[in-house]
Amino acid sequence: MTEGMTAERDTGAAATARRLLEIANLKVHFRTDDGWVRAVDGVSLGVDRGETLGVVGESGCGKTVTAMTVLKLIAMPPGKIVDGTIHWQGRDIVPLTPAEMRSIRSKEIGIVFQEPMTSLNPVYTVGEQIAETLRLHEGLGKRAAMDRAAEMLKLVHIPNPSRRVNDYPHQFSGGMRQRVMIAMALSCSPKLLIADEPTTALDVTIQAQILEIMVEMKERLGMAVMLITHAMGVVAETAQRVVVMYAGKVAEEAPVGELFANPRHPYTQGLIRSIPRIDTAATHKVRLEAIPGSVPSLLDPPKGCRFAARCRFVMPECLDAQPPLREVSPGHKVACIL
């Protein structure tokens, strides 16, 4: 768990080359009848080659919006990238044209969503749906793409892959469908896999299997993973670094060992306290609502620290201005004046 810490520290060209994805001060707002919802309001985070970055935070804090914005899958309108940059392998993708974005999607960055039951098109076989990606990006023929689709199903441990490619999504269980989604997202060997709560909708026993498959595929393909989750336990097991989000902002960022050993933000402390025991938590679906109080409105967020209303250590200064994200030790950043 210390490798993340050391990796974080070298500077200069080597570090930039290792950075796959660098999100800086990203602001994504949504226009609604009541005004602009500031779903993501100044988020900065990065993913290195081959690492697993865990992104945690309670419902509505902007995890999905951040992830979707990386692939520009946000509906615009009502969404709008108000500010910030998203550098993918050194190139800012915010100004890219739709056609340029399409060549990145699935080819370089794959994504798996939370709901396996609704993420597959019901009228095509799973093989056709995986093959579609392969034919688009790898230029494979119909036959070759179907063969590769079957191979992908085999990699995610779907029994009888050569027969199952011809089945429709409704013939698969939730866990099996999520495997299909992973196979699809990884079919073109992307450099980064974004997994947005890939196990939240699944049975506890299935959750562990899916995570295992993701870890195995990551090793095999050498890709990086941005794993979005509610469960601190999942992060502890699979991530090297963690970003904790709160109300559209980054509250804390640290290598995983450091975060659990020395959480600096009161919100992170609350999250960690809500886990019974770290080593068994992966199999328990720990909900983060354990902290009393609720998230502030993103329509008109408070001027000061967004966690102030729920913070045990709140001070008058906290209400004046948003505390900036500052580095407290190598690779450990926190947005709190404490």
């Binding site: 990145i104 999607r105 969503f113 993420s119 597959l120 098109n121 009228v123 688009l136």
Partner: protein, 319 residues
């Protein structure tokens, strides 16, 4: 699948029988019969009249008449029109093609409007195009066909004098000019029916596409890097088509009903005007036959809707 269709057709038989019983009883209970005119005509002696009625079985009890009709029907004898004095099946065969051509072309026109406009509007919700399309669809859907029909006649036939306003099945001549005359007289009835149906379906297609477009698998398709056009056609339209096809097949009975009105306005000698004349003249065999043919069409279109639904949606299996 074949088995399913066969079973559905078998189930249709009791429904058709039921329909025929109800129709027959209602018609028998209705006041007046085709011999009313004869009855008030002093030139016809009463005994001749009675003999005629007896020979046609008009004074038998209802159930006897019903079974007579049913067995005749099963033998393929559809009866004899009291008014036109020709066999009912000949009469229907004369009229049905005209109706089918007018209805068929108008429904194709309706789909050619509804599909592209509905899909395009739904992919750009609340855009100028969408708002104009919505408004026009709303107007088209709200105006009854008898109103638009008269409007069309006033404008295109009377004011501009471009199109004839009475449909003639006995246009003399042959070849291209003959065909052109037929096209010219069909334009207005087809347009009136097609635009009305097109307006209704545009709204339905739009909402079906809007329902699909926000689903997760469309986002998945986008995440694959597919072009918007491919996503719309392959992923969105293919799924939105399932309810649309069902609706189209199921609205055919209503379309036949609507066609009756349109046929009256443009004097199209189709099955609808045949029914109206038959009802006005109390021509029971024709009324029975026409309603029966329409019932069969309704049942067939219902079956077609179910078969198409299962064919388009792999989640449905026939058992």
């Amino acid at each position: 699948m074949t088995q399913y269709v066969l079973r559905r057709l078998l189930i249709a038989i009791p429904s058709l029988l039921g329909i025929s019983v109800i129709l027959f009883t209602v018609l028998a209970l209705a006041p007046g019969d085709p011999f009313e005119e004869l009855a008030t005509n002093p030139a016809v002696p009463p005994d001749v009249r009675a003999a005629l009625r007896a020979s046609l079985g008009l004074d038998d009890p209802v159930h006897v008449r019903y079974f007579n009709w049913l067995f005749a029907m099963l033998r393929g004898d559809w009866g004899y029109s009291f008014v036109s004095r020709i066999d009912v099946d000949d009469l229907i065969l004369q009229r049905l093609p005209t109706t089918l051509i007018v209805i068929g072309s108008s429904q194709i026109l309706a789909l050619m409007i509804a599909l592209p406009v509905g899909v395009y509007a739904a992919t750009r919700p609340y855009s100028i195009f969408d708002q104009i399309a919505n408004t026009l669809a709303f107007i088209g859907f709200s105006l009854p066909t008898f109103f638009t029909g008269i409007l069309f006649i006033l404008f295109f036939s009377i004011y501009l004098d471009w199109l004839p306003f009475v449909y003639r099945s006995d246009i003399p001549g042959s070849g291209l000019p003959w065909f052109w005359e037929h096209v010219k007289q069909s334009i207005m009835p087809i347009a009136v029916l097609g635009l009305f149906q097109g307006a209704a379906w545009t709204r339905f297609v739009r909402s079906a596409v809007l329902d699909v477009i926000r689903l997760d698998y469309v986002t998945t398709a986008r995440a694959k890097g597919l072009a918007e056009r491919v996503i719309t056609i392959k992923h969105v339209m293919r799924n939105a088509l399932i309810p649309v096809v069902t609706l189209v097949a199921l609205s055919m009975p209503a379309v036949f009903g609507g066609a009756i009105v349109t046929e009256q306005i443009f004097r199209v000698p189709g099955i609808g005007s045949l029914l109206i004349t038959a009802i006005l003249a109390n021509d029971t065999p024709v009324i029975m036959a026409v309603t029966f043919v329409v019932s069969i069409l309704v049942i067939l279109f219902n079956l077609l809707a179910d078969v198409l639904y299962g064919w388009l949606d792999p989640r449905i299996s026939y058992r």
